[in-house]
Structure formats: C-alpha cells, structure tokens
Symmetry: C2
Subunit: 315 residues, 2 copies
C-alpha cells in the first residue's frame, strides 16, 4: 500500500516508521521544509526522534499536493489543527477513495466536535478510521513492543493488517465514537489522578479516581453512540493506564501543579482544553460526570481542589 | 451491626478500623494472643500497622467461640488458610444467618476452588459476600480516601451501606465469581507486567500486557459464570491498576526478578501459586490465556521469559 503521513512530529514520524516496517511504501509530509530535508538527506528527525535512524526509503516532502496520491493518509496533526489541514487537502482535491486515518486525540474547541466529525465535514465519502492506543512515540520508533486499536466502520480489519508489523500489533474494532471519546477524555482523567498525587492522597485514591473516571467516560461514550466494550480494547484501558500512570505525562504533571497552586502552563496541555470540551459535551448530553466536572471547575472556575476530594467523600 | 473480623494482619486490622468508622460494633479475632492483648491494652498493632492508633472501643480477642455472635464476619485470612478457619468456625456452630464476607484474594491450591466455593462447603446456607478493591491496607488505616466493591447474590446493597464511611465508599454488585477471578488473577498479571519492566521492554509493552491480560481474565471469568461488566468496577480495573502499577507490589518485584533470573523467593508471593491455579482453571474451562500460560511456563516449566516477549510479536 501507498501510505502518506501528514505531520512530522514525534508521533507522525514514529507512525511513518511503523507503516514502513509493515511493508508499505511511505511518504511523510512536513509543514517544515528543513525537517523534510533532514529526513531525506540525513535520515533523522532529531528535533522529535533524537538519535533514531530512519530508513533511506522513507521519503519526506513539503509539498501537500503530492500526498493525495496515496491509498491511505494518516492524519497526525494536533487536534486543533485538524480543520486547517482538512481544508488544505480539500483544496488539493483529495480523491474520495483515500482512507483517512485520524491519529490525533482531542475534541475541537468551541464546536465540541470529534475529529471524525471535523474530517467528515470535508470528506463525507472517504473511509475514515481512528488509530489510538497506549503508545509513547519514542518507544514505537525504537521498535519496542506495542499494540493499538484501529477503529473504522468501513475497513478496520484491512487497516489492522496493513499496519501491523512484528513488534506492533493493531486490533480492529468498529467503534469510531468510543475510541475518540476515550482518547480525548483520558488526558483530563490524568489531570484528576495528578491532583491526587500532588495532594498526597495516596495510591488507593488515585486508583479510585481512575476506576470511577472510566465509568464516567463510558457513560459519555454510550450517550454519544459508542460501545461500552471499547473500554477493554488497547485504545481503552490500555491507553488510560499508560497516560494516568506515566510519570512523564504532561497532563499528570499539570494535575500535580494544580494541587500545589502552580499552574502557569495550562494552555500547553491537551487535557486543559479537553476538560472544557468534555464538560460541555456532558452538559449537552445530560450525562453526570462528577470527576470531569470537578476538573473543569478547578481549571476554569477557580474552584479549589477540594472538589476532587469531595467526590471521594460520602456526604 | 455487630461485625467480627477474623484475622489481625494489616488488612484485617484496617478493615476492622473501616467497619468501626462506619458506626458498627467491631471485634477483631487474632490467632496471636500477644497481638490481641496489644490491641486491647496499647490500642496499636505495631507489627502490621506501625504507628496507627486504634480506637479504644475496637475490641480484640483470641477466642474464636466468641466471634460467632456477630451479624457479619469478615474473613481476612490468607487464601490457603481459608479452609482451616472455616473448619474451626464450623466446630463452633456458626449460626446460618451470619453473613460471611470473604476478604482474601486467591484460589485454593490443588482443588483450584474459589474462596466462595471453599466457604460454601462448610456454610451452604449462610449469605456470602466478597470484598475487593484497590486498597493498600496502610492507606486505609490512615483514613485516606478509598473505594472497593462488595459482591453478593444476597445482600450487597445492605453490606455496602453498613461498611461505607466518610472516606471509604463501597460499591455493591452481584458478581461473586467475577470479583474473585479478577482478584486472584491480577497478582499473576502483575508478574507479567513486572517481567516487561525487568526486561526493559518499555511502558507501551507494559500497557499492552495489561490491556490484553484484562481480556484473558474476562474470558476466564465469563466461562466460570462471571459478568464482563465487573471489569469496570473498583474490584476490576481499579484493583488491577493499583497492583500492576505499584512499585512496591511483591508480584511486580517477582516479575522483575524473573526477567533478571533472580527468583529464589517465589514461594512467598501470592501470584506464584495463583499462576498455577489460573493455568489449570483455564485448561479445564478450555479458555485460551496466552499471557497467563506464559507466566505459568516461566515459573513452573523453566521456560525463558521469551514466551512473554513472543506473545507481543506477530508470527
């Protein structure tokens, strides 16, 4: 298969490597011409993948027009940039048979749309898939063992087969909605578990927040049309486990900072924006999400972290 | 309610405190007379709960006969001792209206019976419940926030109400089988995730093992009569998250040691025994559990840890 990767950050570059290892013909597009040149000439992407050596047949380009001639396009741009890149691809007349694999986790600000809803506005006829799992990009680039979910109503099985390689296995499912809700919400849950760490509430309370938070996410997912079983896929508990237990997660670090009243960097954290989107989604769908509501109130309404502590108390 | 706690280890003592904080009249039984005396006179249990001060109205006894006059008995003894304590309580003519709450996690060696199956051999008419959740005893004793599941076919809602206090909330469910399967199997899964740590396979692979392992546990639970939804309760993913991510877990430490070929202390680890029980259960019920099978083979059949690594590879 001819696979194009839109985005040359750490995750885009790691996924380009993944697709190439699976035996596909891969081109990576970078907005940044210098990075495209570095990939083509030095076969590295030092800014995002440090010392990782890229294969010589992994081609990079700065020209978006050339990308529309692929069978599959992986969209690996930040969630808030998805609309812009879709608009640009529409201008290039992307053919309707190209499968679009969304590899961004998040909800569009203000519209509160899932990434698939944004992409479908521009490409209503193209097959759409979501790639999500417990994956640190640098470990994937190193070819350490990993798994992920690939969700699509159209061709999940085929995509899983096309992307799987010796050390990276993809599990197909058809729950495009559930995978996206979980992928976005887990960043907010990591802020909540970070608060329990920062507030020295113990490991029991961290697992309590995780356990209850998973049920809040599932309720939202089901209300939005998702499937409860998706929580047991790599994109579910696998990804949540990684994000909420990693000591290097920026969302966790932000939660810890919130508990200590040191929070001047929230605008750089994906969970900061998603907290607002999830809150509004839950209001629109009339789903009770006390942990997510508490995180929203702490970030946006100057509530103290007592609102998380209160959730764990019986009144 | 009059609640008796059988067992004065760290979890028994912490649960006695929990029951007392919930407003019950609590007596704790210790096999060890010196501990019973220390609880009654010094109001401490230094061997198991360090500096924690116990309330003066928490009474301890070394006399099992006096324990049968409770409404509820919490059985907080090691899994492999459950049969012996049931035999002793049967000798004392335990009345059939006393609710027996099993607080031990594990499967009986050789018989491969769940704890509820062992208890029912002796007390077929008594209401039976299982208490399980993400709970480090010392944090519970400190009254840090925590949650747990209480499973019973007879009176889960009532028990949840009787045991819940300000900082410790119990969630009722009726899946006695599922809660026990998960509670036992999580220790084996922690050995598997420990192996990924010891073998430096990365955080992605640890989450992969956890995600796939949860599905193996669910398959076994369903085959045994459990409910897939139990995985989303505190006794499910809550407890698994705590056990598989805690750096102080003995099962994790054992897995790390296995990966480094330093394993002279396996016989002290609950997961060491449960690996065998789960393997035989899965064989009897014809459930495919590749991760659990690999752990069994590594421990009991001298397989190398490559069998875990192989699981993560595509052949």
């Amino acid at each position: 298969m001819k696979i194009g990767v839109i985005g040359s950050g750490s995750w885009g570059s790691a996924l380009a490597l993944t697709a190439q290892r699976a035996g596909n013909n891969v081109t990576i597009w970078s907005r940044n011409e210098a990075i495209a040149n570095e990939i083509n000439r030095q076969h590295t992407n030092k800014l995002y993948l440090q010392d990782i050596k890229l294969p010589e047949d992994l081609i990079a380009t700065n020209d978006l027009s050339s990308m529309i001639n692929n069978d599959i396009l992986l969209l690996v741009v930040p969630a808030q940039t998805m609309r812009e890149i879709c608009h640009a691809l529409e201008q290039k007349n992307l053919p309707k048979q190209v499968t679009l694999v969304i590899c961004a986790k998040g909800i569009e600000q203000n519209s509160f749309k899932l990434m698939s809803e944004v992409v479908k506005e521009f490409f209503p006829l193209n097959p759409i898939a979501i790639l999500s799992g417990p994956n640190f990009a640098y470990e994937v680039a190193q070819n350490l063992p990993a798994i992920a979910s690939i969700a699509s109503a159209e061709n999940a099985e085929l995509l899983a087969k096309m992307l799987s390689s010796k050390h990276f296995r993809f599990y197909p499912n058809n729950d495009v909605i559930g995978v996206q809700i979980i992928g976005a919400a887990k960043n907010v849950l990591a802020i909540a578990t970070g608060i329990t760490i920062g507030n020295k509430m113990g490991e029991n309370s961290k697992s309590a927040i995780l356990s209850c938070g998973i049920n809040e996410i599932n309720a939202l997912s089901i209300a939005k049309g998702g499937d409860a079983k998706t929580m047991l896929t790599p994109a579910g508990i696998g990804d949540i486990n990684l994000t909420c237990n990693s000591l290097t997660s920026r969302n966790t670090a932000y939660g810890i900072a919130l508990a200590k009243n040191k929070t001047n960097n929230g605008h750089l954290i994906e969970g900061f924006f998603t907290a607002k989107s999830i809150f509004h989604l839950s209001q629109n769908l009339e789903i009770d999400m006390p942990i997510f509501k508490a995180v929203y109130q702490i970030i946006y309404q100057n509530y103290s972290i007592n609102s998380i502590i209160k959730f764990l108390n019986n009144s």
